[in-house]
C-alpha cells in the first residue's frame, strides 16, 4: 500500500526544503543587515543588501515549491490525504504558513517574511523530531470528515502561526515606539501613545489616522533610536532561559536544550536588530488582527467538522476529551482576543497578549495533548 521509494523521495525533499528555507531566512536577514533606515524613515539598501533580499525571496519561493512537492508526494506514496500523523500535519502547517506569508506580505514587508520563515522552520524541525514512517491510517481516521476537519485545523493553525509572528513583532515594536516617544523631547503623539488612552469611541479611527498620517514622523524620530531604547540583552537572554528551562524540565536533555535555547536566543537577537526595520506598530497590529480574523472562522469550521466526525466515529459530538477541551480553550481565547481588540481599555498590547496566550493554548492543544495526555485523540498523534 505504501510506495517506499516515493516516500523516501518525499523525506529527501522535505530536508532540501528545510535547508532552502534556512538559506532564505539567512539571506533575508542579510538583506536586512545591509539596509539602513535613514533619518526620513526610508529604507536604503546597499547593492549587496538588495541582492541578498532578492536571493532570499527566490530561495523562499523555491523552498515552498519543493516543500509542496514533498508534502504531495507523501500523500501519493501513502495513498491517502497526507495529514495522518504529527509529522505530516506539522509539515503541512509550515508549508501553509510560508504560503500565507508569501501571499500576504511578499511585496510590502520582506522583513516580516523573514520572521514568518523562522516560524515555519521551527515547525518543520519539530515535525522532524516527531517523524513517523509513511503508513496507512487507522480505520477510525478513514473518513472524509476527518480530511475536512484536519485540513481546516491545519490551515487555521498555519495562519495563526503567521498572526502570532505579527503579534510578537507588534508587541516589540509598540514598546520601542512608546519608549522613543517618552524620551522624545517633542513628546509627539505616536501610534503607541494613541493606544494608551483612546479618548472615546472613535479611538480606532484615530489610531488608523495616526498610523496613516504620522507614520513618517514616527519613523523620523526613531530610525535607530527604537533599537537603542530597548534593552538589547533582554532579547536573547529571555528566550534562552525560557527555552532552556522548558526543554530541561520536559526532556532532561542538556545538549538539545542548549541547542534549542541558542536558536531561540538568536531569534530574539534578530528581532531586536530588526526593530527599526519593522512596519509601524499600528500596521503590525492590524496585520495580526486581520490574519486572526481570517483564521478564526476557519478554526470554528474545523471544530464543527470534528464534532460531526466524532458523532460518526464515537457516537457523540462532544465529550470533553482532552483534545476537544484544548480546542475549546483555544477557540475561547481567540474569541476573547477579537473582542478585546474592540473593547475600551483592552486595545493595543493588552489585546495582543491575549492573542499570544491563545497561540500558547493552540500549541499546548497540538503538542502537549497529543504527546502527554491520554485521550481518544492520542492515537491521532505520532
Amino acid at each position: 500500500m505504501t510506495d517506499t521509494a516515493l516516500a523516501q523521495t518525499s523525506n529527501l525533499l522535505f530536508t532540501v526544503a528545510l535547508f532552502t528555507y534556512l538559506g532564505a531566512m539567512i539571506s533575508l536577514f542579510f538583506g536586512l543587515a545591509f539596509t539602513k533606515v535613514q533619518a526620513d524613515g526610508v529604507e536604503a539598501s546597499t547593492v549587496a543588501g538588495s541582492r541578498a533580499r532578492t536571493l532570499g525571496m527566490v530561495l523562499l519561493t523555491g523552498g515552498f515549491a519543493i516543500h509542496l512537492i514533498s508534502w504531495l508526494s507523501r500523500g501519493i506514496a501513502t495513498g491517502r490525504f497526507p495529514l495522518g500523523n504529527m509529522y505530516e500535519y506539522g509539515s503541512g502547517m509550515a508549508l501553509l504558513a510560508v504560503g500565507t506569508g508569501l501571499f500576504l506580505i511578499r511585496r510590502k514587508y520582506p522583513n516580516l517574511l523573514a520572521f514568518v520563515t523562522v516560524g515555519a522552520i521551527l515547525m518543520m524541525v519539530t515535525s522532524l523530531l516527531l517523524f513517523a514512517e509513511a503508513g496507512p491510517l487507522l480505520p477510525a481516521l478513514e473518513s472524509y470528515w476527518l480530511q475536512i476537519h484536519v485540513s481546516a485545523m491545519m490551515f487555521s493553525s498555519s495562519v495563526f502561526i503567521v498572526a502570532f509572528t505579527f503579534t510578537v513583532l507588534y508587541l516589540v515594536k509598540d514598546r520601542a515606539e512608546r519608549k522613543v516617544s517618552m524620551t522624545d523631547t517633542f513628546g509627539g503623539s505616536t501610534v503607541g501613545a494613541a493606544h494608551l488612552a483612546p479618548p472615546d469611541a472613535r479611538a480606532e479611527e484615530i489610531v488608523g489616522r495616526v498610523a496613516e498620517g504620522e507614520e513618517r514622523e514616527v519613523e523620523e524620530a526613531s530610525a535607530t533610536a527604537q533599537r537603542d531604547v530597548v534593552n538589547p540583552l533582554l532579547f536573547p537572554v529571555v528566550p534562552f532561559v525560557v527555552v532552556l528551562v522548558f526543554v530541561l524540565a520536559v526532556w532532561r536533555a542538556f545538549f538539545p536544550a542548549m541547542l534549542a535555547a541558542s536558536a531561540f536566543a538568536l531569534i530574539g537577537a534578530g528581532i531586536w536588530y530588526a526593530i527599526p526595520h519593522l512596519p509601524p506598530a499600528a500596521k503590525l497590529d492590524n496585520l495580526a488582527y486581520r490574519t486572526t480574523a481570517f483564521a478564526f472562522p476557519l478554526i470554528t469550521f474545523g471544530i464543527m467538522c470534528g464534532a460531526i466526525w466524532a458523532e460518526e466515529a464515537w457516537g457523540r459530538y462532544w465529550g470533553w476529551d482532552p483534545k476537544e477541551t484544548g480546542s475549546f480553550v483555544t477557540w475561547t481565547l481567540y474569541a476573547a482576543y477579537l473582542h478585546a481588540r474592540s473593547t475600551r481599555g483592552w486595545r493595543g498590547p493588552k489585546a495582543a497578549w491575549v492573542g499570544v496566550i491563545g497561540f500558547g493554548a493552540l500549541m499546548i492543544t497540538y503538542y502537549a495533548v497529543n504527546l502527554f495526555v491520554v485521550g481518544l485523540h492520542s492515537y491521532a498523534g505520532v
Binding site: A201, T300, G315, T325, A340, I364
Partner: protein
C-alpha cells in the same frame, strides 16, 4: 457584545445611590440587581468571564475528568497515580474532577449568558434602527472623508440623474432621501451584515445551548459487548453499561432485537500487521412491529434503526468454553467468553459457581481465568506474537477455588484479586480439545474444560444511542458560522449622491477597513460617471469638475471615462 460605541458604561447615573436619598444607602436588592446587570453589560466583564472559562477548561484538559476516564480519576483518588491522594482530595473539593458538571461551572455559564443577553438586547435594537433608517449625513456632504463633484448633465432633472445612477449601487442598499437643504439625495449603504452577522453569531449560542440541553435531557447511550450468534434486546437490562438523560424513560426503550450474524476484521500487512484495517459487524434488527433489516455496522458508518443509532466500538475474541463436572459430566458452564486484549494476550474471567449462601454448609467459590493466544511462538526470550489472527490458537485455562473469591460482590470479575494459593490447576488446550483440571487420581479429575471447535468466535462492541435534537445543534452551529463570516469580512460603507445646481456630488465614508475605501470610492465614482444620463442641453461653461478632494488623486478621478450613453449618441 457591547461595542465601545455604545456609551452606556460611563454615565453618571451608574452610581448606586438612588436619586433622592441623602445618604449613600446600602444598595437594596433592586439596586444590586441593576448594578450587577450594568456590570454584566460591560464588554470587559464578558472578557473576564471568557478568561475564567478558558482557564477552567484548560485545567480540565490536564486533570482527568470523571465522565471521560473514571478509572484514572479513581487511581488519582487512591494516590496510585497522579500527584497523590491529598492533592486529589483538594481537587475533589473544588470539583475539578468534573469541571463541566460542577456548580461553579454552571454559575459561570449562566453569568456568560446573562452578559451575552445584556449586550445583545441593546445591540439588536440599534441594529434594527440602523437598517430601517437611512443614515443621516447632515447638510454638508463635503466634510466627509471622500467626496467628488461630477458635471451635471445639462437638461437632466434631479430625478432623471438619480434614476440613472441608482443601478450602479445594485450590491448596496440605496434609498431616496431629501437632504436638510431640500435637495434630492441618494443614500447608499452597505456592510450591515457586519453587525447583523455578529448578532446572528452571538444569538445562535442560545439555540446551541437549547439544542445541547434538550439533546442531553432526552438522550440515551448504552454499550454492549456481545459474541457472534448472540442477540440482545433494547430493554433497560439489555445493556452492560448505560447512561440516560433526565427525560429518558425506561418505557422509551422500544425493544428492538439485534442479532449479531457475523463479525469480520481485517488487518494491515507488514509492520502494521497488528493494526486493524477494518472491522464490520453484520447484524439483523427486528423491530417491535415485526420489521427486520440486515445491516453492516462499521467504524465511521453507524446504522440507524427504530430511533436508535448503532456504532461499531470495539471487538475481540469470544471462544466457546465449556466446563463440565469431572464426576457426573454435568455442564457447569458453557459460554462464549468475552476476552480483552492485554498486550497480545486475550484474557477473560468467569465465575463457575458462586458457593453457598448457607453458612452451615459452606461450599467453595469457583472461578475460571482464560488466556487466549491467537498466534504466537515460544522462544528463549519469551512469547513472540506472529499475527493477530487465530492461526495457531491456544488457550490456557486456570481454575481457582477458595471459600471467598469475591464472586458475590458487585465488582466485575475481571477486577477481583485472586490469590495464587487458590489455583486448583491449569491446562493448555487447542480448539476441539478438552482437558481435566483438579486431579483426583483414579477418579479422573474434578473439572473437564473444553475449547469449542471450529472457527474462533469473535465478539463485537456496539454503542447504541438515541440523541435527539442533533438537527437543532447543527442548525445552531451553521448559523454561528454563517454569522461569523460576514462579521469578520463585511465592511460598512456609506455613500451619498446628491444633485446640485451644476454638478452631481458623490460623497462617502468608510466605517471599517478605511485603507481600502479610496480605491472602492474611485471605482464607484467612475461607474456613477458612466451611468449619468447624456447631456441634452448646452454644455455648462463652468470647468468640468470643480473640486476634487484628497485622497482621490485628481489625475485618476478626472481621467476620461467616456459614458456609454454618450457614445451611442455619436
Amino acid at each position: 457584545m457591547t461595542n465601545s460605541s455604545a456609551p452606556d458604561t460611563a454615565r453618571p447615573e451608574d452610581a448606586a445611590t438612588p436619586a433622592g436619598s441623602r445618604l449613600p444607602l446600602i444598595p437594596g436588592p433592586w439596586e444590586t440587581a441593576v448594578l450587577v446587570w450594568k456590570r454584566l453589560r460591560r464588554m470587559s466583564t464578558a472578557l473576564v468571564l471568557l478568561f475564567i472559562l478558558a482557564t477552567a477548561t484548560l485545567v480540565a484538559t490536564f486533570i482527568p475528568q470523571e465522565p471521560v476516564i473514571a478509572s484514572t480519576v479513581s487511581a488519582w483518588r487512591e494516590g496510585t497515580e497522579g500527584p497523590g491522594a491529598g492533592v486529589a482530595r483538594v481537587l475533589d473539593a473544588l470539583s475539578l474532577f468534573d469541571v463541566f458538571g460542577s456548580w461553579w461551572f454552571a454559575v459561570l455559564t449562566v453569568a456568560l449568558l446573562v452578559s451575552l443577553t445584556a449586550c445583545l438586547i441593546p445591540r439588536w435594537r440599534v441594529f434594527f434602527r440602523n437598517v430601517r433608517m437611512p443614515a443621516n449625513a447632515g447638510a454638508n456632504l463635503r466634510r466627509l472623508s471622500h467626496s467628488i463633484e461630477l458635471t451635471r448633465p445639462a437638461g437632466a432633472s434631479e430625478d432623471e440623474v438619480l434614476d440613472a445612477v441608482q443601478p450602479v449601487f445594485r450590491t448596496y442598499r440605496s434609498r431616496r432621501v431629501i437632504s436638510p437643504d431640500g435637495r434630492a439625495r441618494l443614500a447608499v449603504e452597505r456592510g450591515h451584515w457586519r453587525e447583523g452577522g455578529s448578532l446572528v453569531f452571538h444569538t445562535s449560542f442560545y439555540l446551541l445551548l437549547i439544542g445541547v440541553a434538550l439533546g442531553s435531557a432526552f438522550s440515551f447511550t448504552g454499550q454492549i459487548d456481545i459474541a457472534e450468534g448472540e442477540r440482545f434486546a433494547d430493554t433497560p437490562l439489555g445493556y452492560q453499561a448505560r447512561s440516560a438523560g433526565t427525560f429518558w424513560d425506561e418505557s422509551d426503550h422500544r425493544g428492538a432485537i439485534t442479532t449479531i450474524d457475523d463479525f469480520e476484521v481485517t488487518y494491515l500487512d507488514g509492520d502494521n500487521r497488528f493494526v486493524a484495517d477494518e472491522f464490520v459487524s453484520t447484524v439483523t434488527f427486528e423491530g417491535a412491529d415485526g420489521t427486520t433489516r440486515t445491516e453492516e455496522i462499521r467504524v465511521n458508518h453507524p446504522v440507524h434503526f427504530d430511533g436508535l443509532t448503532y456504532y461499531q466500538r470495539a471487538f475481540g475474541f469470544a471462544p466457546q468454553v465449556t466446563v463440565r463436572s469431572g464426576l457426573d459430566g454435568s455442564d457447569l458452564f458453557q459460554s462464549n467468553m468475552i476476552l480483552r486484549d492485554d498486550g497480545g494476550f486475550w484474557t477473560g474471567r468467569a465465575k463457575i459457581t458462586q458457593g453457598s449462601d448457607d453458612p452451615a454448609r459452606p461450599l467453595p467459590q469457583i472461578g475460571m481465568e482464560v488466556v487466549f493466544i491467537p498466534d504466537a511462538s515460544i522462544t528463549d526470550e519469551g512469547f513472540r506474537f506472529n499475527s493477530p489472527e487465530p492461526n495457531n490458537p491456544r488457550m490456557a485455562v486456570t481454575i481457582y477455588s477458595a471459600d471467598d473469591l469475591g464472586l458475590d460482590r458487585t465488582v466485575p470479575v475481571s477486577q477481583l484479586e485472586w490469590p495464587e494459593s487458590a489455583i486448583l490447576g491449569s491446562a493448555m488446550i487447542t480448539p476441539g480439545e478438552s482437558a481435566g483440571i483438579g486431579d483426583l487420581g483414579e477418579l479422573g479429575s474434578l473439572f473437564e474444560v473444553e475449547f469449542g471447535g471450529g472457527e474462533i468466535t469473535m465478539w463485537t462492541g456496539l454503542q447504541v444511542s438515541h440523541q435527539p435534537f442533533r438537527w437543532l445543534i447543527l442548525t445552531a452551529a451553521s448559523l454561528l458560522l454563517m454569522g461569523l463570516i460576514p462579521s469578520m469580512y463585511a465592511y460598512r460603507r456609506r455613500v451619498w449622491v446628491q444633485v446640485e445646481d451644476n454638478h452631481v456630488l458623490v460623497a462617502g465614508v468608510a466605517l471599517h477597513r478605511k485603507d481600502r475605501f479610496s480605491e472602492e470610492f474611485e471605482d464607484l465614482v467612475s461607474r456613477v460617471r458612466g451611468a449619468l444620463p447624456a447631456a441634452t442641453g448646452p454644455p455648462p461653461s463652468a470647468p468640468a469638475e470643480l473640486g476634487v478632494r484628497d485622497p482621490v488623486p485628481a489625475s485618476t478621478s478626472s481621467a476620461p471615462h467616456p459614458p456609454s450613453s454618450d457614445r451611442s449618441d455619436l
